[in-house]
């Protein structure tokens, strides 16, 4: 039954994918990309990957789409019709696809409980997490503790993206607090924005701190947090949003989150453990793990939220004044 839904979703994804490639309107393609992302997120839910689904929805359907839109606003929304169908890419794609399909022939079948992935390493995570880490969400325990170093790397990637976008596009502060005429007309939007803004932030906090028990964690929370501010910026104008959270503050927060994460690692080293060994952070290993995970998730949340918001600011502040 799940298989059925899974199949239908895959087919829908395929249709969406083909449409995206064919679309010559970039805006439409972006919309479809957003749908693609949502659909794949639904697929993740079907496949029991709830944390991933949450992240994919927030990042793929949310932030990526918004960034694409901002880029289209700064460039153009139309794609020149291709002059010819290039053969070489087609051949490359077919060869690659064939290689992959060839590779699938010896794969363990979908959902097979005897597949190697279910027999090695992972069972230990499932088995040991309650005892060693003491939280129910195994994804969080693997993410934050067993493979916490990957997560640090991931944070560094996001940090790099933030620094990179800032380097590339620079940052311009919006002068004036007047809202542009477009916004004045959208009274409803403003009301809704005002209504939702605190709710979203609250929800972000929930996702942040509930990550140990259910789907969620620093990344998702950070993105939702940023989404809240983006909504604010959409409803009240970039200038007002920038007054709410100024760029300098963002910059400090970006660095702070990173340093918090690394600091936890260094601290555990100073206390005689290995890098990122949370056990030594408190008297009892499990509460040490708890403390460590909360701290690093906080670091992740802060950095991700501020990087996302910073990237959005940077993109939008590139827009000519009148269009905001």
């Amino acid at each position: 039954m799940e298989i059925l839904i899974d199949t239908i979703l895959l087919v829908l994804l395929m249709i969406t994918g083909f449409s995206i490639v064919r679309m010559r309107s970039l805006l439409a393609a972006t919309m479809l990309t957003s749908i693609y992302s949502l659909l794949s997120a639904s697929l993740f839910v079907v496949l029991d990957a709830v944390d991933v689904a949450l992240t994919e929805a927030a990042i793929g359907a949310g932030i990526s789409t918004i960034l694409l839109l901002a880029t289209i606003a700064l460039t153009t929304d139309r794609e020149k019709p291709p002059q010819r169908t290039p053969m070489l890419p087609l051949i490359v794609v077919i060869i690659t696809g064939m290689a992959l399909i060839y590779g699938t022939l010896d794969m363990p079948h979908f959902g097979n409980p005897q597949a190697p992935v279910h027999l090695h390493v992972a069972p230990a995570y499932l088995h040991d997490t309650p005892g060693e880490i003491g939280i129910p969400n195994v994804v969080t325990s693997v993410l934050a503790s067993y493979r916490g170093y990957d997560t640090l790397g991931e944070l560094a990637v996001i940090f790099t993206a933030g620094a990179g976008v800032l380097t590339l596009l620079g940052y311009r502060t919006r002068g004036g607090n007047s809202m542009d005429p477009g916004i004045r007309k959208l009274l409803i939007l403003r009301v809704i924005g005002k209504l939702f803004f605190p709710l979203i932030l609250l929800f972000a906090l929930y996702v942040q701190f509930h990550g140990d028990y259910g789907p969620g964690g620093g990344f998702q929370a950070g993105v939702i947090f940023a989404t809240g501010f983006i909504l604010y910026a959409l409803a009240f104008g970039l200038g007002n949003a920038q007054r709410l959270i100024p760029h300098q503050l963002l910059r400090i927060m970006v660095a702070f989150g990173m340093l918090l994460y690394i600091g936890v690692g260094i601290e555990s080293m100073l206390l005689g453990g290995k890098f990122l060994e949370y056990n030594v952070l408190a008297d009892d290993p499990v509460s040490g793990q708890h403390l460590g995970i909360i701290l690093i998730e906080l670091g992740v949340g802060i950095t991700v939220a501020s990087v996302m918001l910073m990237i959005y600011y940077v993109f939008r502040s590139r827009q000519p004044e009148g269009d905001l």
């Binding site: 007309k185 959208l186 409803i188 939007l189 809704i192 209504l195 939702f196």
Partner: protein, 105 residues
């Protein structure tokens, strides 16, 4: 009582599904953008509302219900807001509604 709630929930769910389907057909079949807005509104309010209500009945009174309520709350606000904003943007973008069948041809 249990059974009543159970049956009620399924009625809600089925009703919601029908509204969703109707709305979906509407968005496909209606002639122009403005009419399609109506179809979507059906989905957003009646369809979504009924389905969520059915689920609430299924879940009983717990954190689940709170979350479903929250979703419902969000939907009830965001749906119309989005549709409104969309309509306004379309108007601003000089999109003409199709007034008459003959005119269209």
């Amino acid at each position: 009582m249990e059974t009543v709630i159970y049956i009620l929930s399924w009625i809600f769910l089925l009703g919601g599904a029908i509204f969703l389907l109707v709305g979906a057909i509407g968005i496909l079949r209606f002639p122009d953008f403005y009419t399609r807005l109506h179809a979507v509104s059906v989905c957003d309010t009646m369809g979504a509302g009924l389905v969520l209500a059915g689920l609430m009945l299924q879940g009983g009174f717990s954190l689940v219900t709170v979350k479903l309520l929250l979703i419902f709350y969000f939907m009830i606000f965001t749906g119309p807001t989005a549709v409104h904003a969309l309509a306004q943007a379309a108007l601003q973008g000089k999109l003409k509604p199709v007034v008459d069948e003959h005119e269209q041809q």
